[in-house]
């Protein structure tokens, strides 16, 4: 029983990190209908930026904030240099998809060039001790992860739902042309979503790096796919959906690891993903899209 509760707790903490990455997919997909394959690499970039900044000894919090800013800027650069020109040319959607694949290769291999491909120890700065209750261990690392992720996700939800910028984002997601006619600078809104996605991925990267105390350039691939599964599960394009999806994927895969062995941990996310896509393509919170002729 203690094992069971422990796995749910672990899954919950990890699931929130997935949710932070999933938000990046959801924001971009909601507006551009594009699967941003570079997001996993952006996450790895965020983790490395945090790793680098922590190495400068300004303390963990300024380091992560700096990493967040740098990674947000990276998101903006990706959009402005590679994706905005495609939008301007009204290219087919596969072109944007392949572009994000290319960007992913660029980022990941630049990280290899700069930091080396080996696994690097990340300082364990969230560890203030462990709370033990009836055989269930609650580490401060998990607590920090849960608090920070929840706070950030709430902040993002607030921005999207309560501010004028958020209103513009929702309008752009619904209908770009109409939004532009209402005086919204659609290009800036899209760039802003890349900024927000990059920043949240950097925080997730820093925290997961601190959780496992390890960073490496290809770390973004698996978590990127899982976060993507999470955002599809919740209904891609929906922020609460990303949160719920992330938590579900985190908890289910931890339980799967408990019952079927940790080897099948990674496969769980994909099985959930395919099942959701076949039986409920719009996800739990998504709206069904109707194709009009």
């Amino acid at each position: 029983m203690a094992d069971f509760v422990q796995q749910i707790l672990n899954g919950f903490a990890l699931g929130l990190a997935y949710a932070l990455v999933a938000v990046g997919y959801s924001l971009v997909f909601g507006i551009l209908r594009l699967i941003n394959f570079s997001h996993g690499s952006v996450y790895a970039f965020g983790a490395h930026a945090a790793f680098f900044m922590v190495g400068l000894h300004f303390g963990p919090v300024p380091a992560i904030i700096a990493a967040m800013l740098i990674t947000g800027v990276l998101g903006v650069v990706i959009d402005r240099t590679a994706l905005a020109p495609l939008r301007k040319k009204k290219s087919v959607s596969i072109a944007a998809l392949v572009t994000t694949l290319g960007i992913s290769s660029i980022i990941q291999n630049m990280l290899v060039v700069i930091f080396g491909s080996q696994r690097k120890p990340f300082p364990d700065f969230f560890n203030f001790g462990t709370l033990e209750l009836g055989g269930v261990r609650l580490g401060s690392r998990q607590l920090v992860m849960v608090t920070v992720s929840l706070a950030l996700l709430l902040l993002l939800l607030m921005v999207v739902n309560k501010t004028k910028v958020g209103l513009a984002m929702r309008a752009t997601a619904q209908n770009q042309k109409a939004a532009a006619l209402m005086g919204i600078n659609v290009n800036n809104i899209i760039t802003l979503t890349f900024l927000m996605g990059g920043a949240s991925a950097a925080i997730a990267g820093g925290m997961v790096g601190g959780y496992y105390q390890i960073v490496y350039p290809s770390m973004g691939f698996m978590i990127g796919l899982k976060a993507f599964a999470a955002s599809v599960l919740g209904g891609i394009g929906s922020l609460p959906g990303a949160l719920v999806g992330g938590l579900l994927v985190g908890v289910i895969e931890s339980l799967a690891a408990l019952f079927f062995g940790s080897n099948y941990r990674d496969a769980t996310a994909f099985i959930i993903l395919i099942a959701v896509l076949i039986f409920r393509p719009a996800g739990l919170f998504g709206k069904k899209e109707v194709v009009k002729v």
Binding site: L97, N109, N263, Y264, L277
Partner: protein
């Protein structure tokens, strides 16, 4: 008629002239190229070069397979490495555990891969565009994880070693004696011919109509779900064929030979050459296999440049380097031509 051939010449310029040149002489050029490729092992290349040629052959087959589903039918599959893996593992297990003759393992492996392609094709009944792409991606990862964890059959992460090379009338095929090269050349010719006949048949036209507009295709009476599933099956079949060839060639397989990187490499080749054209597959596979070999001095920067190429291609030439619509006038078969003449659509004696 004079005018018709002049018109595109002005707009298309060099490309049109090149295409017309090749098209007019294709009866000489294709056999000539074939004879040239037959002679490659006799030219005294070392094993390293022959290996590169052979690997290019494998990737031509894989790209042609992807092209059927992504290029002609317009369903981007990011899980084709899975079929490649299924082909490789099936052939290996049949060879080592089942004691099946090598020459039988290739078609059997391809058939099993094709069947798995049908399984993957089933979700296409309900999914479109990006969602379908994600399912294929998830499928690829699930297959890889099964291969990695099903220890009793696939030997898990350790992989399967010492896969024996096949015999051909008493000669053991190897890279050194060019045996594998000839075999892959044969398979490339086979798959190209099959691909050509599929594309230029009723099936191929159904594929293209689905790519251009699925709803309109349905309205014209094309059973789009059937043809989409068929595209996946054919693509999986040919990928499985490549896998069954690959395993005995390298003599060792593990799940790391079939990662997402492989799928993404096949996609890059097809896109670099030009999706929806066959010439593009040959070109793309050759360029992207040779590029990492000749640019070893760039070390880790190679794959950075690889990404840059993809991004620039999408920006400036998304149809691929060799991707353009054919401008050479369409050639009808004899029966079609006589029908059209009778209807007065084509002038007599055309």
């Amino acid at each position: 008629m004079e005018k018709n051939t002049e018109e595109p010449l002005k707009t298309a310029g060099g490309l049109y002239r090149v295409e017309l040149f090749f098209s007019k002489r294709r009866m000489i050029l294709i056999p000539a190229a074939f004879i040239l490729f037959l002679a490659v092992p006799l030219m005294g290349f070392n094993q390293y070069i022959l290996r590169i040629f052979t690997v290019i052959g494998i990737y031509i087959i894989l790209s042609l397979a992807l092209n059927l589903v992504a290029g002609y039918t317009g369903q981007l599959s990011m899980g084709n490495a899975a079929f490649y893996a299924i082909g490789a593992y099936t052939a290996t297990l049949l060879l080592l555990r089942g004691g099946v003759n090598y020459w039988l393992t290739i078609p059997l492996a391809a058939v099993l891969a094709g069947f798995c392609g049908l399984l993957l094709g089933l979700p296409t009944f309900r999914l479109r565009g990006s969602y379908l792409t994600i399912v294929t991606l998830g499928f690829g990862e699930i297959v890889r994880m099964i291969l990695m964890n099903w220890d009793s059959v696939t030997n898990g992460t350790l992989g399967i070693r010492n896969i024996p090379a096949p015999d051909f009338f008493g000669i053991t095929l190897s890279l050194r004696n060019g045996g594998f090269y000839y075999l892959v050349l044969f398979l490339v010719v086979l798959v190209s011919a099959a691909s050509w006949f599929i594309v230029n048949s009723k099936i191929g036209r159904a594929f293209v109509s689905i790519r251009e507009d699925e709803i309109a295709a349905q309205m014209m009476g094309i059973r789009t779900t059937k043809y989409k599933a068929l595209a996946f099956v054919l693509s999986a079949f040919f990928s499985g064929l490549a896998g069954a060839f690959y395993a005995p060639m390298v003599g060792y397989i593990d799940s790391n030979s079939f990662t997402f990187e492989v799928s993404s490499q096949i996609i890059s080749m097809a896109i670099l050459g030009g999706l929806g054209t066959m010439r593009g597959m040959f070109f793309g596979a050759a360029v992207l296999i040779v590029f990492p070999e000749v640019s070893r001095f760039l070390m880790d920067y190679r794959f950075v440049i690889y990404g840059v190429i993809l991004v620039l291609m999408m920006r400036f030439r998304p149809q691929g380097l060799l991707g353009w619509q054919p401008r050479v006038p369409v050639r009808f078969s004899k029966t079609v031509r006589s029908d059209l003449m009778r209807e007065g659509i084509l002038p007599e004696g055309e």
